[in-house]
């Protein structure tokens, strides 16, 4: 077993995080088999019912089973978290590689990143969705755009430290093309910190996507989405607090899982990447 794997397994919180995420993915994939009810079917006589044997987490204002909606909602939240992070990572890493490797591009690219960083992330995401219109795809883009500058900064710093090393200089001296140096020599050696940062970004992306849905800018009804479920339950807070409580708890558990995993991966793979420092 490698040193990194051993360090990771010693990190109890990280293992717990990994376990949580694995369980969530499993439940999301098997939602159709595991969910006790149809997540969209309305059952008005059972509206706002509390937790019971038939509805383990109760029902919402349309009598829909909250547990089933949470299980189906997990698919969406995990998908948005991963795809939005992938969008941000791809664009950010490409910008960072270009800025770090080609000195002429450094100033313009990084100043553009500074402009994106000048917007608080929630506001930037809201502004992007407001401009593009509310939909699942636009939420992914909005959440992804927000993480581009952080990925770019990290990738750029990796290029700057790696391009002076002998193996990169050697490849350049042997006539390797810029693309080959960047994608065959520099990028593979930057994977660890980028992976650590990505796992933390998934947590932030899930949170942000939930905020957008909560504000009515995300997935539209009747699709089950955790943030929207919390929002819908607000009107019934007095008589049925479980309608908002349980979906919020699901977001908390998923985000906690990725945060713990990120902490563990950081300690195991790359202790230099500080969460606060990069964000």
């Amino acid at each position: 077993m490698s040193d990194a794997a051993r360090r990771f397994l010693r990190h109890r919180l990280a293992v717990a995080g990994l376990g949580l995420i694995a369980l969530l993915i499993l439940l999301a994939l098997a939602a159709r088999q595991v969910a006790p009810h149809d997540p969209i079917r309305q059952d008005l006589p059972h509206a706002l019912a509390g937790p019971s044997a038939e509805f383990p987490l109760g029902t919402d204002e349309f009598g829909r089973c909250i547990l089933s909606r949470i299980l189906f909602g997990a698919r969406l939240s995990l998908l948005v978290g991963v795809i939005a992070t992938a969008i941000g990572a791809t664009a950010g890493i490409l910008c960072g590689l270009a800025a770090g490797y080609f000195p002429r591009l450094d100033a313009p690219v990084m100043r553009a990143m500074d402009v994106l960083l000048a917007f608080p992330s929630i506001l930037l995401a809201i502004a992007v969705v407001a401009a593009l219109g509310p939909s699942l795809g636009n939420v992914m883009i909005a959440v992804g755009v927000r993480s581009i500058p952080s990925f770019a900064r990290l990738a750029r710093s990796m290029v700057l430290s790696l391009k002076e090393l002998e193996f990169v200089q050697g490849a350049t001296a042997l006539g390797a093309s810029h693309g080959r140096v960047l994608f065959r020599h520099i990028l593979p050696n930057s994977v660890s910190p980028l992976l650590v940062f990505s796992s933390m970004q998934i947590a932030t992306a899930i949170l942000l996507a939930a905020i957008l849905s909560f504000l009515g800018l995300g997935v539209q009804p009747p699709t089950p989405e955790w943030g929207k479920m919390v929002s819908d339950g607000r009107a019934y807070l007095m008589e049925a607090p479980h309608v908002s409580l349980f979906p919020g708890l699901a977001i908390f558990i998923a985000v906690m899982g990725f945060n713990c995993l990120g902490d563990g991966l950081r300690d195991a793979l790359d202790p230099r990447v500080g969460r606060v420092a990069v964000e």
């Binding site: 917007f119 608080p120 930037l124 502004a127 985000v255």
Partner: protein
């Protein structure tokens, strides 16, 4: 120091220009024709033409941007499409409420976050440390809107201690204070976690340094070692994060103000977004981003003053 400040000021100019460009772009990346959105899908062509002319949208883009920028520099952000009143006026009438909310929230975050991180570091690996670390990790993972809803349910609906929403005067008056506690505490959740984590790691780093060991060896009382020798140095990076968090609170205020019906810029922005009132959206985005950039500039200058090594980098 003067050269450092001048350099930082100059670096801010292109960022502010970029920010204005992005704010300007909001109106122009809307799918479809924004004029049709504003005038309504069934509006006659004459109305559409009039709205287009009113917004100046028939001119080339660079002319529109220049006009937007020069008017913004003079404090004119246009008129709201809904209320027809001045956007600058609408924003300024709500800005004090947002400033009050974010400032009280930041004060809460500092007052809770720093002692929490300090205790966790001084009592490392004790139950207190695990409790503080666990609490901060949990706070980082909680959606802010859920914290708001749970606290409304608990403190307002169940216990009846605090009002559900709204603002009732400045926070130094009793009713004003009761109204601001829940939204400010909700908004502070993430900042408490970040500040306490950073204080803890900074303290652990400083407590292992030789000058702290020397102070202890000389018989300096433990409270003095922690408070005077260690904390002062550990807090330098915390200052930066406090500044950055202040900016993030301005963004987070959009959610908190919407839930607690707090009459600030965040709620104005959210209402404008839902009503597609683009000039107001532009104005709010521009204001928050400019304040964010200026706060960062202030933090950088303060940081350079606190830690002279930064100025020479």
């Amino acid at each position: 120091m003067t050269r450092y400040i001048l350099r930082r000021l100059l670096q801010t100019v292109p960022v502010l220009l970029g920010v204005s460009l992005l704010a300007f772009a909001i109106m122009h990346v809307v799918p479809g024709d924004p004029v049709r959105l504003i005038a309504g899908p069934d509006a006659p062509e004459s109305v559409v033409m009039r709205v287009r002319a009113e917004l100046g949208l028939e001119r080339p883009l660079y002319v529109q941007y220049w006009s937007f920028l020069s008017r913004a520099l003079q404090g004119d952000l246009g008129r709201s499409l809904r209320s027809r009143s001045s956007v600058t006026g609408e924003i300024w009438s709500r800005f004090p409420a947002t400033l009050e909310l974010t400032t009280v929230s930041m004060a809460m975050a500092v007052l809770v976050g720093i002692p929490l991180g300090l205790v966790a570091a001084v009592r490392r690996s004790s139950w207190l440390d695990y409790l503080a670390t666990g609490a901060s990790l949990s706070s980082l993972s909680m959606p802010i809107f859920w914290v708001a809803i749970v606290s409304i349910w608990l403190f307002s609906l169940q216990l009846g201690w605090l009002p559900v929403s709204g603002r009732a005067g400045p926070f130094w008056e009793w009713e004003g204070f009761r109204h601001i506690v829940l939204p400010a505490a909700t908004l502070a959740t993430t900042s408490v976690a970040i500040i306490s984590r950073l204080t803890r790691s900074g303290m652990l780093d400083v407590l292992g340094r030789e000058y702290v060991t020397t102070a202890r060896a000389k018989g300096v009382p433990p409270l003095h070692v922690v408070g005077k020798h260690a904390l002062a140095n550990a807090l330098i990076p915390v200052v930066t994060v406090v500044g950055l968090q202040y900016g993030f609170l301005l963004g987070g205020a959009v959610v908190t103000e919407t839930i607690f019906a707090w009459p600030g810029v965040g709620r104005l922005a959210m209402t404008a977004i839902l009503q597609r009132d683009y000039p107001v959206v532009q104005g709010c985005v521009l204001l928050v981003a400019v304040v964010f950039v200026l706060v960062n500039l202030g933090v950088d200058i303060l940081y350079g003053w606190l830690d002279p090594r930064i100025r020479y980098e």
